[in-house]
């Protein structure tokens, strides 16, 4: 069965814009996802300095730690590009190595977030204790969910490759995964800057 993992003839028909349907879809989806993260980030920004009780950002954030995990995610974008380059030149082994690397780095990022959040909870920062906890966990949690979905996509591509169903002609699938992955990375850069790096105002109510 020659179709295997491909999506039939859609890729071969000429399109009005010259872009593959699936690529246009991915870009439209990522544009839409900006309108998803935008309000979540705006909500966080709205609530800066508005918590009536602690813990406050400066009490819980460990900037060096989070910087390392941000670096890990950033490097995963590099390995993602290397994976795409590998499949585009027909290098299955390289593809698999770099896919695993990307998925691993992504998993380290998510694992690091889980550890970070657990520490915060132990320090008293929960979803419900104040608006900082509320807006922080929901924003970064949904970002982490996006990364997790990305990791699952990467593993499914790996599986397809190992079954011989991700050939050079199917490189678009890796490219689409890459677009999604880079988007999630860019969102993290925005979140890391606005949430972690820019110093939060001191609490309005001092105890």
């Amino acid at each position: 069965m020659e179709h295997g993992g491909t999506i039939g003839h859609a890729a071969e028909h000429a399109t009005s814009t010259g872009l593959d349907n699936r690529k246009l879809l991915m870009w439209a989806f990522l544009g839409s996802d900006c309108l998803f993260f935008g309000p979540l980030i705006s909500t966080y920004m709205l609530f800066r300095g508005k918590s009536l009780t602690g813990p406050y950002p400066h009490e819980v954030f460990d900037i060096p730690y989070t910087s390392v995990s941000a670096f890990v995610l950033l490097m995963s974008s590099l390995t993602m590009v290397l994976a795409l380059a590998a499949i585009q030149r027909g290098d299955q082994r390289g593809l698999r190595i770099w896919l695993v690397a990307t998925a691993l780095l992504g998993s380290v990022f998510v694992g690091g977030q889980v550890y970070e959040f657990t520490t915060f909870v132990h320090e008293g920062l929960t979803l419900s204790v104040n608006v900082f906890g509320t807006s922080f966990f929901v924003l970064t949690g949904f970002h982490g969910a996006h990364v997790t979905v990305g990791v699952l996509i990467l593993f499914s591509l790996l599986g397809a490759s190992m079954r011989g169903q991700l050939r050079r002609e199917d490189s678009l699938r890796v490219e689409l995964a890459g677009l999604y992955w880079h988007f999630v990375d860019v969102v993290w850069i925005v979140i890391f800057t606005l949430v972690y790096l820019i110093p939060a105002p001191l609490p309005a109510v001092l105890h």
């Binding site: 069965m1 491909t6 399109t15 879809l25 989806f29 509320t134």
Partner: protein
């Protein structure tokens, strides 16, 4: 055991048939999906209409006791939600589905299985939204569900949970459909069909799709925040912990205003096709009408706080939004003038479709004028939350969207079914609906300005409102009568209507160039487009175009059941949050299995 692309076991064989109930469940054909949308949404529309009739019976006389306040609150909430999300939007979607591929010369949409998914998610989402009626009370907080009445403490029942979960699920449906039509219109036009040669209905669908993909994520965030407040104790809208109920209003209306353009632009597109057809003249100012639609789409983002004039945003914010709201009347007015100019000195054929299209223009003008009066923040302080607003809403949404949709039904019914509807009954339907509509909603302007608040379940006598309310109730039942006429016409014509042939109206656009109903593959050969109003051009301007460059094999996507199961999984995952987490887990697993299998299933196999 057979496997799906070598990935997961396939329990059921891939469907291949086009007859029987299983074929409807597994269809990926845009025409069938359009019919599914149309029938389902019409049923929800009737349900929402019954909710309205009960309200009108209660309000017919002062101090009435037909239903109590609690039930009345559920009725006005669910009436609005059902009309907007389960009525107008999916009715528009049924036209997008059936007509867009035909108008652009394509065989199907870009992603046929995603298209099917949109429908099944809509069906399950609509059921989820209404489940409150069966579980102790539907949502009763108004369709815009202001915080923090919606907090768990003040709305403890399942009603608001179904509001949140139902709308989240429905949002996925709308988003998926919008992505599909965005890619379809941008990418799958016939050779020669540049953007400025597209039919106007296609253009308005494109703008609507862009609005959908940008506006729905915003309400999704608001709904997620409400969900988390209700289920997980977060403080987004909890003032006691530093949260802000106004955050909900901003997020809701940032979505809500583009939403009203999502509701009206498709109807405007339909009217922009019908007026030229029955005036035998091209649309006056086609590029300007296109541009106005695009401008409305952009400017629609800059007016949201006109829904919040009375909330206390301050004079600067109120002044800014007053201005932007007044300015957005301009592109709308431009369209209206172009429609009138289209009819001017045209060779008019008086069909039911034309009646509804002209009715749309007249009623939308009235609704638009009351809208302009709301634009002044100062004036709006008197109008807000009165029946004057209810009048405006219904003139633009009923006189506008619904009349436009009925115009589309009369216009495209022959294409969809192969038979013409009865013109006499169609005109009877029009006059009854036109009179009923004005009788129902006209007096509301007066009652509102005389101080009758919105959403009250009863009122005392001696306020001067009695006559207006009685008139409105009578009008509502005249509307209901008109719908009975329509339903009789629609059903009867299926069996005994005159055969329509390809082109009963001497149409201008490509859908009229193929048989009625269209064959599975739509076009035997994909046409080459040489001008706007492509079919009219082929018929009357330049016959004998370039020869087709050979017959390509016709590839059609094969049916699939994964969209149905993915939709079911999503609905269970969402609904389970209201009942038991185990249901959510099962739903999530089903959805993941279905999506994964779908990703590795080829478009066609074997």
């Amino acid at each position: 055991m057979a496997v799906v692309g070598g990935a997961l076991p396939r329990v059921l064989p891939r469907p291949t048939g086009y007859t029987g109930w299983w074929s409807w469940l597994t269809t990926v054909d845009h025409k069938r999906i359009g019919i599914l949308y149309g029938v389902t949404s019409f049923a929800f529309f009737l349900l929402a209409g019954i909710e309205a009739l009960v309200m009108r019976l209660q309000l017919a006389t002062p101090n009435n006791t037909l239903v109590g306040a609690g039930t009345f609150n559920q009725l006005f909430t669910m009436h609005a939600l059902s009309m907007i999300f389960l009525g107008v939007m999916p009715l528009s979607a049924s036209f997008f589905n059936f007509i867009i591929p035909l108008q652009i010369g394509a065989r199907d949409v870009a992603f046929p299985r995603l298209n099917a998914l949109s429908y099944w998610i809509f069906l399950f989402g609509g059921i989820l939204l209404n489940l409150g009626f069966l579980t102790g009370g539907a949502a009763d907080v108004g369709w815009f569900a202001y915080a923090n009445l919606t907090a768990r403490a003040y709305s403890p029942g399942l009603g608001v949970d179904f509001y949140v979960l139902g709308l989240l699920v429905l949002g996925v449906s709308s988003l998926a459909a919008a992505f599909n039509f965005l890619v379809t219109i941008m990418n799958m036009r016939a050779p020669g069909m540049s953007l400025m040669r597209m039919p106007l209905f296609t253009w308005m669908t494109l703008v609507t799709s862009l609005l959908l993909v940008t506006a729905f994520p915003v309400i999704t965030v608001g709904l997620i925040q409400l969900l988390f407040d209700r289920f997980y104790g977060t403080n987004f809208f909890a003032p006691g912990a530093g949260g802000d109920p106004l955050l909900w209003q901003h997020l809701f209306w940032l979505f809500g205003h583009p939403e009203v353009y999502i509701l009206i632009l498709p109807a405007m597109g339909i009217v922009s096709e019908i007026l030229p057809t029955f005036a035998r003249k091209p649309l006056f100012g086609y590029p300007v009408v296109v541009f106005s639609g695009i401008v409305i789409g952009f400017m629609g983002w800059g007016v949201w706080a006109h829904h919040m004039f009375t909330v206390g945003l301050g004079p600067v914010a109120n002044a800014v939004f007053s201005l932007t709201t007044m300015i957005i009347a301009i592109p709308t007015g431009v369209k209206i003038f172009n429609w009138i100019a289209t009819l001017w000195q045209g060779s008019i054929r008086l069909t039911a479709a034309l009646y509804f299209a002209v009715g749309f223009v007249a009623l939308f003008i009235i609704g638009g004028l009351s809208g302009v009066t709301h634009a002044s923040a100062a004036a709006d302080f008197q109008q807000q939350d009165t029946y004057y607003i209810v009048a405006h809403i219904h003139y633009v949404l009923f006189g506008g969207s619904i009349f436009g949709i009925f115009a589309g039904i009369y216009y495209w019914y022959p294409k969809i079914t192969g038979r013409l509807m009865h013109e006499g009954l169609g005109k009877l339907h029009f006059w009854l609906m036109f009179i009923g509509m004005n009788l129902a909603f006209g007096p509301m302007h007066v009652a509102g300005l005389q101080g009758m608040p919105r959403r009250i379940f009863t009122y005392p006598s001696g306020m001067g409102w009695d006559l207006w309310n009685m008139m409105s109730t009578i009008g509502a039942f005249v509307i209901a009568l008109s719908l009975l006429v329509f339903l009789h016409n629609a059903f009867r014509s299926r069996g005994t209507g005159k055969l329509a042939g390809n082109d009963p109206w001497d149409g201008r656009t490509l859908e009229w160039s193929i048989p009625s109903p269209p064959p599975l593959y739509n076009f035997a050969t994909i046409p080459t487009v040489k001008a706007v109003d492509a079919y009219w051009h082929d018929k009357y301007v330049a016959t004998g175009g370039e020869p087709e460059d050979g017959h390509h094999a016709i590839h059609l996507p094969q049916p699939s059941y994964w969209p149905f199961f993915a939709a079911l999984g999503l609905a269970l995952a969402a609904g389970g949050l209201a009942f038991h987490p185990a249901i959510s887990v099962v739903g999530l697993l089903l959805m993941l299995f279905a999506v994964y299998s779908w990703a590795f299933e080829p478009v066609t196999e074997g």
